[in-house]
Each structure stands twice: as C-alpha cells, then as structure tokens.
C-alpha cells in the first residue's frame, strides 16, 4: 500500500487534470461521477475503511482528503463516497445491490417542519430537503425516529414513489435537491442500538470532514490574498507592504493555522477523545470560516467582489460548509451542555 502522503499527492494530480474547467463547475452525470470515483480510487484517493466498523480508524485519511477537497473545490459528493457509504457498508447488513461496486448512498435526513417521517411495513413517507447529489445517488439513507427508537432505512434510487426537485445554490460543490418519498419501498438496515451506533459514527466523521474541508478552503483563501497583496500596487507600493494589510493577513492566516492544527489533533488524539475533538473542529471551523474568507476578500479590494478572481467560490463554499452538520451556535450550546454536565471537570 502506498503511503498516505503519496496517495494524497496522486489524488491532487488527478484532480488538477480533471478540474481544469475555467472555474465553471462541471455538472457531472451519475455515470461520470461513478467513473471519476473509480479513477480517483485507482489514483490512490483515500476513504474510510469499509472493513473497520469504527470511523476513528480512518481519521487521518478523512482530514487529509477533505483538506485537499477544500483547497481544490471538488464538485463531487466526496463525503458520501469516501465517508458515509463505506461506514454504511461497515455497519449494516442486507444493503441493496445498487450499493455494491461503485454505487453510493446519500444521507437524506427528514426535514423537521415538513411533516413526520414514517416507515410503515417497508414503505417510507418523508420529505428531505437539501439532499446532496440526489440525482446521482444509487440509494438514499434515511434515518427515521419513531416511537420505538431510531431506524435507518435504505431506499434504492430506482424505485417508484421518489420525487426529486432540484434546489438552486451559489456553491459549485453541492448539488442540493428536495427529495420526497411517498410510500417508497424501503429496507430497514439498522435498528435501535445498532442505528444509534451508526448515528454516533457518521456524525463525528462527517463533522471532521466538514472541518477539514473548511480548513483547506481557508488555507487557499489566505494564499490567494497573500498572492494578490504581493502583486497589487497602490500609492506606489505593493499593498502587502502596508502594515494594516500585513496585520489583517497575519490575523486570518493565524486563525486558519489554528483550525488546521485542531483538525490534525482530532485525527491524532486518543480514540476516546476523537468524537469530541471532531465536534470542536467543526464548531471552530464554523466560528472562524467566514471571518477568514472575509479578511481575504478585504485584502482583494473591489476585485474580490467580482468573479474575476476565484475567491468568491471559496466564500460560497464556506457558507455551505458552515451550514452543514450543525451551525456554530447549535454546536457551542451542545458542547457547553456536555461540558457542564460532566461531574469531573478536570481533564
């Protein structure tokens, strides 16, 4: 097995060749996405180990891959392909045939204010908004919380009773869809304790992926701002030589560096601390994400407000990432409650 650094470098090479798209996001079809994932896997692209029923075994792979995805703005359902689907394979049995080989499942969480999701005798009725890459998915993974606990159901994308309504977004890396299930045939693949275990696996894994992707996007935003400030002259000087600009850039670069170190530690820390560190990483990403890109925008001056430079794409991506798997305030409250409920507060 090639080492992770080599695999990441090869993945980057491959993506650099395939993403030469003049900053217009390719709208890849389902078959293109599958063959791209196939090629990416051959290039060495890492993913969660589908043989290990614990996300913590693959933390470093998650951080490295998503940090790269954030830097490069990859318009692929990487969280679904590299994290959620392998974890589903690791934890669930009796998955539909469509998920074999290179098929992938997307997470479709029922939207709270669109009626209660129901799973009656193998028929799913639910409305799920902002489901990523729904048009390209092989199957949907829908967690349904009923009176007797959590059930994870899988719906094959080809069955009847599914309606897709594409949503529009500024972010070139997400392809959100409103998905309605109307008595769609569903298979319960995980129930109760096993379903709760799945939830406690995918949440920290997904949050660490989002945090690392934010970290990559921020690193790129800072680099773009430094590059611009080192070329642009005003008052007969490069603007990057003004202390006001230097301090602005030093400030945002320091924040981005802290997030990077936090993601690294979430991957390296003891397994029992990993879930908490992943949530912290996502919360810190959401706290500083926009602040850092806004600083980079400020250093760009008026050109940053246009589509002449790629920075606007990063701003849009970070807005989406902030809103994914928990916004800053919710996460802080969750972490604060946890911290206060601990009887022993010393580390």
């Amino acid at each position: 097995m090639r080492d992770l650094a080599t695999r990441i470098a090869q993945t980057e090479d491959f993506l650099t060749r395939r993403l030469a798209h003049d900053r217009v996001a390719p709208s890849w079809s389902i078959s293109e996405i599958r063959s791209l994932w196939d090629e990416l896997r051959s290039a060495g692209c890492p993913r969660v180990d589908p043989a290990a029923p614990d996300w913590r075994a693959s933390r470093t792979e998650i951080v490295q891959l998503f940090s790269l995805a954030g830097r490069m703005l990859v318009p692929l359902p990487l969280r679904e392909l590299a994290v959620f689907t392998p974890l589903l394979h690791a934890l669930a049995h009796g998955l539909p045939d469509s998920l074999a080989d290179e098929g992938f499942a997307v997470l479709a969480v029922p939207t709270v204010d669109r009626g209660r999701a129901r799973l009656d005798g193998g028929a799913l009725t639910a409305v799920c908004d902002l489901v990523p890459f729904a048009d390209a998915a092989s199957a949907f993974v829908v967690p349904v919380r009923g009176d007797d606990g959590l059930v994870v159901s899988v719906v094959d994308a080809t069955v009847s009773g599914i309606t897709l309504e594409p949503r529009s977004t500024y972010d070139i890396c997400s392809r959100p869809t409103l998905v309605s299930f109307d008595a769609a045939p569903a298979v319960a693949v995980l129930e109760h304790a096993a379903a709760e275990t799945w939830w406690t696996q995918i949440m920290p894994a997904g949050r660490l992926a989002v945090a690392a992707e934010t970290s990559g996007a921020l690193a790129s935003s800072c680099a773009q701002a430094v590059e611009y400030a080192s070329q642009r002259a005003q008052f007969g000087r490069l603007i990057g030589s003004f202390q006001a600009v230097q301090h602005l850039l030093a400030g945002i670069a320091s924040k981005a560096y802290t997030l990077d170190a936090l993601c690294e530690e979430a991957a390296a820390c003891a397994p029992e601390a990993a879930d908490g560190m992943a949530t912290s990483a996502k919360a810190y990403a959401a706290e500083i994400g926009l602040e850092v890109v806004e600083g980079a925008l400020q250093a760009h001056g008026a050109i940053g407000y246009t589509q002449e430079r790629p920075l606007h794409l990063y701003l849009k991506r970070v807005i989406t990432l902030n809103a994914t798997l928990g916004v800053a305030r919710e996460l802080r409250r969750e972490i604060g409650m946890q911290r206060l409920s601990k009887t022993r507060t010393l580390p």
Binding site: A250, G251, L259, L262, A281, I335, P347
Partner: protein, 338 residues
C-alpha cells in the same frame, strides 16, 4: 524543573513531550504556578546554546533545581517593542565589564539571584550589531532594584511583580559574558523565540486548569442560554489550543533549536484564549465584577478580577500582538517590505 534538559546539568534528560505531560499533571493537581519560568525557559536554553561548558556547569544546576531564580534584563524604558534600541552599556575594563543603565519589567527581581542582561558593548556598531549578553549577580555593588506597581497592586505577586533595575558602574567579571562579544542580539532573539514553545505548552495547561476551576465554581448555578453557549465556545477554543500546543511540541521535538514564525501564531492564540476566558469570568461574576470580595454564590470575585487584569498583559509581554503579526506577515507569509 528542567525535565527536558541534559542530566549532566541537573535536568531530567527527557523530551519536551515529557515536559508537556509534566505541566499538565501539575495543573491537574492544582500545584501552585512555578515562578522560575524566565530562567528555565529563556536563560537555560541560551546557556546551553551559546554559553561555555564552565558556565553551564556553574549556573545550570542551581537554576534547574529552583535554588537560584533568574530575572530577564531585556526591556528598557526607551527599548520596548524596539528591543534593539537598548542603551545600557557594558564597557570592557581589564578582566571586567562595567555596566551602566536601566532595565524595566524585570520580574522576580526581589527573589532572583541573577539577571540576564543585554547591553551595548560597541556603541559605534549598527543598532543590532553592538550588543552582548551577561549573567549578572544581583548582589553586586551598584545594582539597585525598585518596585514598579502594576494595575493589580500587590495581589498578583510574586507571579507578576515587576521591578526597575538600575546599574550604576556595576563591575561584572569577564566570564559573565554569554556567547561572543557583540553577538548578543542573535542570542536574545533565539532565546525569546525558543521561549514561546514551552511557554505556550505551560500556559495552555494552566489556562485549562483555570477553566476547569471556573466550571467547578459555577456548578449547580442556573445559567442563561448565552452563558452555556459561551462555555461551549471556550471549550472549543481550548481544544484548538491543545491541538496547536501538540503541533508545537512535535515541531520542537523534531527540529530542536530552530525558530519558527508559527511560534508567534501560538502566542497570538493562547493570549486570545486567555483573554476570552477571563471575559467569561467577569461575565459570570455579574454585578460583583471588579469587587475584591467573595460573592454570595461562592465565587472569588477578587481573584477573577485580578486574573482578568493579568490577561491584558498577555498581548503586551514577550512581544506585543502587533510585533507577533509583523513576524507572521514577513516570515510566514513572505509579504513584501516597505
């Protein structure tokens, strides 16, 4: 105290990772803050890097055992952020140097045995070039120490008890010189940079201790949603600080003796966390903030007020936030000069 220093000089011969673990354990046991920081973190590395074997053998064992405390004689009234502007002179006279001048922000001076002084040995050389470092005994004739009252009064002593130190024709032996004559600027820059790594590790452990203590004190109290949220935010900042400190520990273990602009990022961040934590402390004191009493709910308002004030020193000492940002901008980001 010298966990990560060589055994031949009284250290434990272990790594910086051991040092970090040791710091954490001390905080967990709520041990009082050790007051020999400047000696252990700045003077000892400078002696090992630039001092003679004889100086190390003579000065390090009592320093690392805690028997002899050290102060730092770097800043002067007219040389703060612009440290290379120091005006204290050291004139060679036979086997001695004669010191004249004034140092400020000299911590622990009343308890310390020695002070590490940077002084001008070649007034004709360019600003950074004519400086040298000396290990000066406080007991020598002509040394005068005067207290400088900080905003917390005496309540935070001796952790941050500052002094002005005057040198009036103080004769120090030639073997007090550390490193080469006129090479002092390099020694000081290296040692101050070297300080930041261990300092961020220790401060991280201390601040986590303060946070845990604060949460203990407010246990059982009814909190508002925004207070719970702020506690969550601080928990996140502490996880981030831990990540950053671990990265620093690894960097220092892999490439000992090297300086990195990331050290400045470390300083900026732990100071930020420190200040955010003590804002929370004040907020939780409510109407008792700023008083010197114990609140009816059992919070030591005096302590949290003093800790808050001390947190404001963080963005000044050991290189202000602005100086740290200058370093990051130039050395980490490679931004152009004026």
């Amino acid at each position: 105290m010298g966990v990560a220093y060589p055994t031949e000089f009284g250290g434990r011969g272990l790594t910086l990772l051991h040092q970090a673990i040791c710091n954490e354990e001390l905080v967990r046991r709520r041990a009082p803050t050790a007051i020999g920081g400047p000696g252990v973190d700045v003077v000892a590395p400078m002696l090992i890097q630039f001092g003679s074997r004889d100086q190390c053998a003579r000065l390090l064992p009592p320093l690392l055992s805690g028997d002899e405390l050290w102060s730092l004689g770097f800043s002067e009234p007219e040389a703060g952020s612009d440290l290379a502007a120091v005006a204290t002179t050291a004139e060679r006279d036979g086997d001695e140097f004669v010191l004249n001048g004034c140092k400020i922000w000299t911590g622990f001076a009343a308890f310390a045995k020695r002070v590490l002084v940077i002084a001008r040995t070649d007034p004709a050389a360019a600003k950074h070039r004519g400086l040298s470092c000396f290990a000066v005994d406080f007991d020598l004739p002509g040394v005068d120490r005067r207290t400088l009252h900080e905003m917390t009064g005496e309540s935070n002593a001796p952790i941050t008890q500052f002094y002005r130190v005057f040198f009036n024709g103080v004769r120090v032996p030639a073997d007090a010189l550390i490193g080469e004559v006129n090479d002092g600027w390099r020694c000081v820059l290296w040692s101050l940079g070297r300080e930041r790594g261990p300092f961020v590790m220790r401060r991280q452990a201390e601040l986590e201790g303060h946070f845990a203590e604060l949460l203990d004190v407010i246990k059982g109290r009814t909190l508002t949603e925004s207070q719970v949220e702020e506690i969550g935010r601080l928990s996140v900042l502490f996880d981030a600080l831990r990540g950053q400190a671990m990265r620093t520990t690894r960097r220092m273990a892999e490439r000992p003796g090297e300086l990195f602009p990331e050290d400045s990022m470390d300083k900026l961040f732990y100071v930020y966390v420190d200040q955010q934590l003590h804002h929370l402390g004040l907020e939780l004191l409510g109407e008792y903030g700023g008083t010197r009493m114990v609140t009816p709910s059992g919070m030591d308002a005096h302590k949290y007020t003093v800790n808050y004030m001390y947190s404001r020193a963080g963005s000044i000492y050991s290189g202000t936030d602005q100086i740290q940002k200058n370093i990051v901008a130039r050395r980490k980001l490679g931004l152009p000069g004026a």
